[in-house]
Symmetry: C2
Subunit: 129 residues, 2 copies
DNA sequence: GCTTGACTTAGAGTCCACTCCAAGTGATAT
DNA sequence: ATATCACTTGGAGTGGACTCTAAGTCAAGC
């Protein structure tokens, strides 16, 4: 699959796909004889995985480390797992912060509901009075 | 409360506190006669609110808009509420992405557990055989 | 009276993660 | 053969959110 179609399929710009490969966030992509990228299934799996991780805010550097270890072979499985566990922990922490903020936003929004409905009541009184 | 103590209390650098005020992310802070910031309770409430929002990734610009409206008075309550609702929606969306990624990480970590325990079994066999 | 230390400002610099640009190649359509 | 178009590269530029620097003010302690 050419980069344009990958870009469309996964909604990632071609520039970003090239950038991901350049910095080692995905392993080197399969190429045609003329050097043009021709993503195979394995390449697409990486793209999809990285898209998922990035959409959750997992840092590029952690993913680069992960991919680097992956390319060094099976011996690195334990180190790779450690990276995933660490990233998971950070993810959970961020989600907890977000949950706190969500509750606070809900509270404030409810408060605005109350304020605004009471001001409507007052205007009704005015109109009536 | 002087900026140094606010910085310590809320774990936000003095530079960041000044930056927040400069760009309008919090309303102008109370000052002593000589111009030195002396945060009162209202100021601290803003600091705490902004810290909470930023820790969840709510964008600075949305918060600047919110604070701007707040300073324009009660007429802006509806617009402020709209901002909160919009930010809440974005927050929920990000949390959903994160939930998806979390599940995927859990799956991969479990997978590493399986791979690695099977490789331990093999080495046990080796040692025994 | 001089040093120390916390504060002030405007503005420059940094980091991350892209995003864009210029110059060039190579296959296809007219 | 010439234009079009998608692709290639290295490197420069951008946007968001800080973070740091330089130059200066002010109050307290020796």
């Amino acid at each position: 699959m050419l980069i344009a179609e990958v870009s469309k399929t996964y909604d990632i710009s071609a520039d970003t796909l090239r950038y991901y490969e350049r910095v080692g966030l995905i392993p080197a992509v399969n190429r045609r004889d003329n050097g043009i990228r021709d993503y195979n299934e394995g390449d697409l799996n990486w793209v999809e995985f990285i898209k998922c991780m990035r959409s959750a805010g997992v840092q590029v550097e952690a993913l680069i480390d992960y991919v680097g270890l992956y390319q060094q072979g099976d011996d690195t499985a334990a180190a790779r797992k450690d990276i995933l566990i660490e990233q998971r922990a950070q993810l959970v922490e961020r989600m907890e912060d977000m949950q706190t903020t969500l509750e606070r936003l809900d509270y404030k929004i409810e408060n605005y509901d109350r304020i605004m409905s009471s001001s409507i009541d007052m205007s009704k009184c005015k109109n009536k009075g």
